[in-house]
């Protein structure tokens, strides 16, 4: 019964929190009329009206927010692995082959490309920068992949390329937020949170939404890129450490038995419970839930997050070295997590911001090194998912937050010491693979410089709409009521990309 009271109190608090101007105006319109009608319809007992709205039916979801829910329609995928290359890789060196651009290498950029444009760093008239990679077509689909990604070239038939994705943010933070939450400003739930909210999680001993980072830094936009926004906090991504123990203090300390631990946690939860009863803040419930989850995680996490016991041929496939922080280890972990029923695994790899300001940030050297770090692991991930049959029900998405310019960056109007490209919002390449994605498809055509999409352009909202569709949601109907109006991941935008749906 305590649970019930707790939930009623929570409901009351949430109602009050969510009351806004919109509600007030709506009430003004609807309830004044209702006031006049009430005696007619219900006699002189307005309580009847009250009763009918408070007849609460508590579902399993109210008690366990991560309880699984069926998708609105049969989804092609049940899990997502999203590989986000933070900093934005150059599409012109990886997938978007522009031989014409090579001819203009080192020539002044035509005025027509610069008119009315703003760039993050380019000032004045920059020089064009030809592609620095060698391209070839691969597989049955004839996909263009450069020699920067020799392993990936062999699995190119498994993926569908989106070659004319565009965004409207040219700085990393806002663009990452836009790519992950559908809005360049803070406050919206991330894609992973939406999916976890909509489907819950299958394995009750693991979080529904796990985040792993590599490249030495977390994304510029901070943890909001996997935040839950206005959704309850339990749906936010759980970041695991990429080096050492994935989750700290999972092992019981010596002398501390599991029963004793249980007593400790229930005592803490008791205190939190009392706090909740005093203040009525629903976030305290999220805290209580986290403690319970942590206790359950102790059973499963050490096993699932441990890659040491994987056979040698798997380590060889991924190029993993247990113990170090690497994209490869994270890819292998992503496969293990999805295998264990985790709903969303989000990988961030930092270090793709190749402006040409130093060696690491150069298109011809630093970018090659960066590509080598992901080439084998991400190809291995696709193959490993495929051989286990997990690719049938897992969606893999790869991309940065924007693309890079066909021009050499000229920070402060100066010539750079290295070859580099500025941020570019008009056209860049992403790819998807797995559950429900058409293998070997390529959608989107860019102009001869790879500057703008000329046909089959895809917006960030279109991408989100398509991802939700594959997970079993109609993006126009998947909403959450906040501040008096229903919110969608795609807000009022988004069209399905039919060309990449199998």
């Amino acid at each position: 019964m305590k649970h019930l009271e707790k939930l009623f109190a929570e409901l009351a608090v949430q109602k009050l929190q969510n009351q806004t101007r919109r509600h007030f105006l709506m009430d003004c319109v609807s309830k004044v009329g209702g006031l006049a009608l009430a005696p007619l319809l219900f006699g002189c007992e307005p309580e009847q009206l009250m009763k009918s709205s408070s007849g609460l039916n508590l579902s399993e979801r109210d008690l366990n927010p991560l309880a699984p829910l069926p998708p609105p329609f049969v989804g092609k995928a049940k899990s997502i692995i999203y590989l986000h290359m933070a900093g934005a890789p150059s599409q012109l060196e990886l997938f978007d082959f522009k031989p014409e651009l090579a001819k203009y290498h080192n020539q002044d950029c035509p005025e027509s490309l610069l008119e009315g444009r703003k760039f993050a760093f380019i000032r004045g008239v920059p020089k064009m920068l030809g592609p620095q990679a060698k391209f070839a077509q691969h597989g049955k689909s004839g996909a263009w992949v450069s020699d920067y990604l020799p392993h990936f070239a062999k699995v190119a038939d498994e993926v569908a390329f989106l070659k004319a994705v565009h965004t409207d943010q040219f700085n990393h933070g806002p663009a990452q937020l836009f790519m992950q939450t559908g809005s360049p400003r803070l406050g919206r739930p991330s894609l992973g949170s939406w999916v976890t909210y909509g489907l819950g999680t299958e394995n009750q001993n693991l979080p529904g939404f796990v985040v792993l980072t590599s490249g030495g830094k977390t994304p510029d936009a901070g943890k909001s890129v996997w935040g839950s926004g206005f959704l309850p906090s339990v749906y936010q991504g759980v970041q695991c450490r990429s080096k050492g123990d994935p989750v700290l203090y999972l092992e019981d300390p010596t002398g501390m038995s599991r029963d004793l631990k249980k007593n400790v946690i229930s005592a803490i939860n008791q205190v939190n419970q009392e706090d909740f009863e005093t203040f009525g803040d629903p976030e305290i419930l999220a805290r209580i839930n986290q403690y319970e989850m942590a206790y359950r995680m102790q059973i499963e996490v050490p096993e699932v997050m441990n890659i040491n016991d994987e056979p040698a041929h798997i380590h060889e496939l991924y190029g993993t070295k247990p113990g170090e922080e690497s994209f490869a280890n994270n890819c292998l972990l992503a496969r293990k997590l999805v295998e264990k029923g985790v709903r969303v695994v989000q990988l961030y790899d930092w270090g793709w911001d190749t402006h040409g300001t130093d060696h690491d940030g150069s298109i011809d050297m630093g970018l090659r090194n960066k590509c080598r770090e992901i080439d084998r692991p991400m190809s291995a991930l696709l193959l490993d998912l495929k051989q286990r049959g997990l690719l049938e029900e897992t969606l893999v998405v790869w991309g940065g937050e924007f693309g890079r310019t066909p021009m050499q960056e000229n920070r402060e109007g100066k010539v750079q010491g290295f070859m580099g490209r500025d941020h570019h919002v008009d056209a860049f390449t992403m790819w998807m693979a797995g559950g429900g994605v058409k293998k070997g498809a390529s959608y989107g055509i860019t102009d001869d410089f790879g500057f703008s999409g000329v046909d089959e352009r895809v917006s960030v909202h279109d991408l989100h709409a398509t991802i939700l569709q594959l997970m079993g949601f109609n993006h126009e109907k998947f909403t959450y009521d906040f501040q008096g109006r229903p919110f969608r991941l795609t807000d009022v935008h988004g069209e399905l990309i039919h060309a990449v749906l199998a």
């Binding site: 399993e60 049969v74 020799p150 062999k154 286990r388 049938e392």
Partner: protein, 463 residues
């Protein structure tokens, strides 16, 4: 000889109904005239209700005849008919009620107000029958309509069949549906913005306030197309910015239609339309992944029961009667636990027993799941001796048996299955045999994995 009289009188109903409405409203209004000790209007009022009653009676009779002869459904007219009878009785009632009075009393006023209410409701229902229920609301702006909670049925775009799309008539099956979907809400016979109606061929040819909109063969000079490709900021761009815009295929189709002569009977093949343009309108007769059943949605109690044993159990989609069951948090599941699943055997469509303690005999139970579509037996001690029994499952599409002891010979026993699409046997003896005995073919796709990415010189070059 005189059978026509009934239908004719019936058709008088829409005419006759106006008499009682007019007369009674007049009478009702007179009741509220200021009065002194004696009401001099009383005889007139009584006369009004008498005449009104008679008029209502004749309207009622003609209405009944119309109902009899014109094929109205009883459910539709019922309340209207009772309302008519009530109005008639009410009118005579007021007439007799006023007989003994010298002036209008409060209860008389209440009486006539009640009558007025019945009259309005009856009249309104009658109007709904002849003019349709949305007669008033459909002229309102769409925003106001949705504010009032009226669901606007979205117009359907073109829908073509895979086999016969080439034979579809370009105008009526493609162009008009596109116009209906994108333009009709503002350009229809009732709501002609710019004097333009785009709901029929005849109206298209008539044009709008700026003249003709269609020049057969010349899309650039046809406003019907030219307005669509103006920049969105342009005031003349159609549909106006903020409204849903037609897709580029739809615009291209309108262009092709005009270029091909804007005929109303040409087929898509006749106009030489490539499949690419029409692709997204061709209905994919994709078969659903899971079998179609008529099981009602599973009750939350049953789900809770399954979950209490430790299973993950959920409907395959919202409202479906089919179940997905996994043992992801139930690694101790063994053959003897099958009883817990047995009550749901007709409903289980997805079963994951990976990593559990099952043994080979469980196959005999599994074959009793008629709707099973996905079966996972990864990392179990099942041996393959009676694997062939699984061919009895008519809907089984995906079979997972990674990390088991199945051999290629055992997997061959599945060859008779009519439904199997893919079998996953990574990390099994079968996978090892497969590499040496290539040439074996199966009616399904056998995935044994063992993928490697051979080392490349570039793997070690650091730039």
């Amino acid at each position: 000889m005189l059978e026509f009289l009934g239908p004719l009188l019936g058709r008088m109903h829409p005419l006759l109904v106006h008499l009682p409405i007019g007369i009674l409203v007049f009478g009702i209004l007179l009741c509220f005239f200021p009065q002194k000790k004696k009401n001099p209007l009383l005889p007139s009022i009584r006369l009004a209700f008498l005449l009104g009653g008679i008029a209502a009676l004749s309207a009622g009779i003609s209405g009944f005849l119309q109902y009899q002869f014109e094929g109205f459904a009883w459910e539709d007219v019922r309340i209207h008919l009772f309302g008519g009878i009530l109005t008639t009785l009410g009118s005579f009632g007021v007439f007799f009620h006023l007989k003994s009075l010298k002036k209008i009393q409060l209860k008389s006023k209440i009486f006539v107000l009640g009558l007025a209410l019945v009259l309005i409701i009856t009249g309104h229902l009658g109007g709904n029958l002849t003019h349709g229920e949305s007669y008033f609301t459909e002229v309102l702006p769409q925003e106001l309509q949705s504010f009032l909670g009226i669901e606007i049925q979205p117009e359907k775009g073109p829908e073509l069949a895979e086999e016969s799309w080439e034979e579809a008539v370009f105008y009526s099956e493609v162009v008009q549906p596109i116009l209906n979907q994108n333009c009709k809400s503002c350009h229809n016979p009732r709501n002609k913005k710019g004097e333009l109606d785009l709901s029929s061929m005849k109206a298209l040819l008539a044009g709008g306030e700026d003249g003709l909109i269609l020049t057969a063969g010349d899309a650039e000079h046809s406003e019907l197309f030219a307005r669509l490709i103006l920049p969105k900021e342009d005031e003349k761009h159609m549909p106006p910015s903020g409204k849903p815009q037609p897709s580029k295929e739809e615009i291209a189709l309108i262009e092709s239609w005009i270029k091909s002569g804007a005929k109303d009977n040409q087929t898509l093949a006749g106009a030489g339309i490539p499949r690419k343009l029409i692709e997204r309108f061709i209905a994919k007769n994709e078969k659903p992944f899971y079998p179609i059943t008529d099981f009602p949605a599973i009750s939350t109690d049953s789900l809770a029961e399954l979950k209490s044993f430790g299973f993950f159990a959920e409907a395959v989609e919202s409202g479906s009667g089919l179940l997905k069951v996994t043992c992801i948090n139930f690694p101790d599941f063994q053959n003897s636990d099958w009883d817990k699943l047995a009550p749901f055997k007709n409903r289980i469509a997805y079963l994951d027993l990976s990593g559990t303690k099952i043994s080979s005999e469980i196959i005999n139970s599994i074959v009793e799941l008629p709707n099973l579509t996905v079966l996972k037996l990864n990392e179990t001690a099942i041996s393959g001796s009676n694997l062939g029994a699984l061919t009895a499952l008519a809907h089984l599409k995906l079979l997972y048996m990674n990390n088991t002891t199945f051999t290629l010979r055992e997997i061959q026993m599945l060859a008779k299955s009519q439904s199997l699409k893919k079998v996953f046997a990574f990390d099994t003896p079968a996978a090892k045999e497969w590499t040496v005995s290539e040439g074996l073919t199966f009616p399904f796709q056998l995935e044994v994995g063992n993928f490697q990415l051979p080392k490349l010189p570039t793997d070690t070059i650091v730039y």
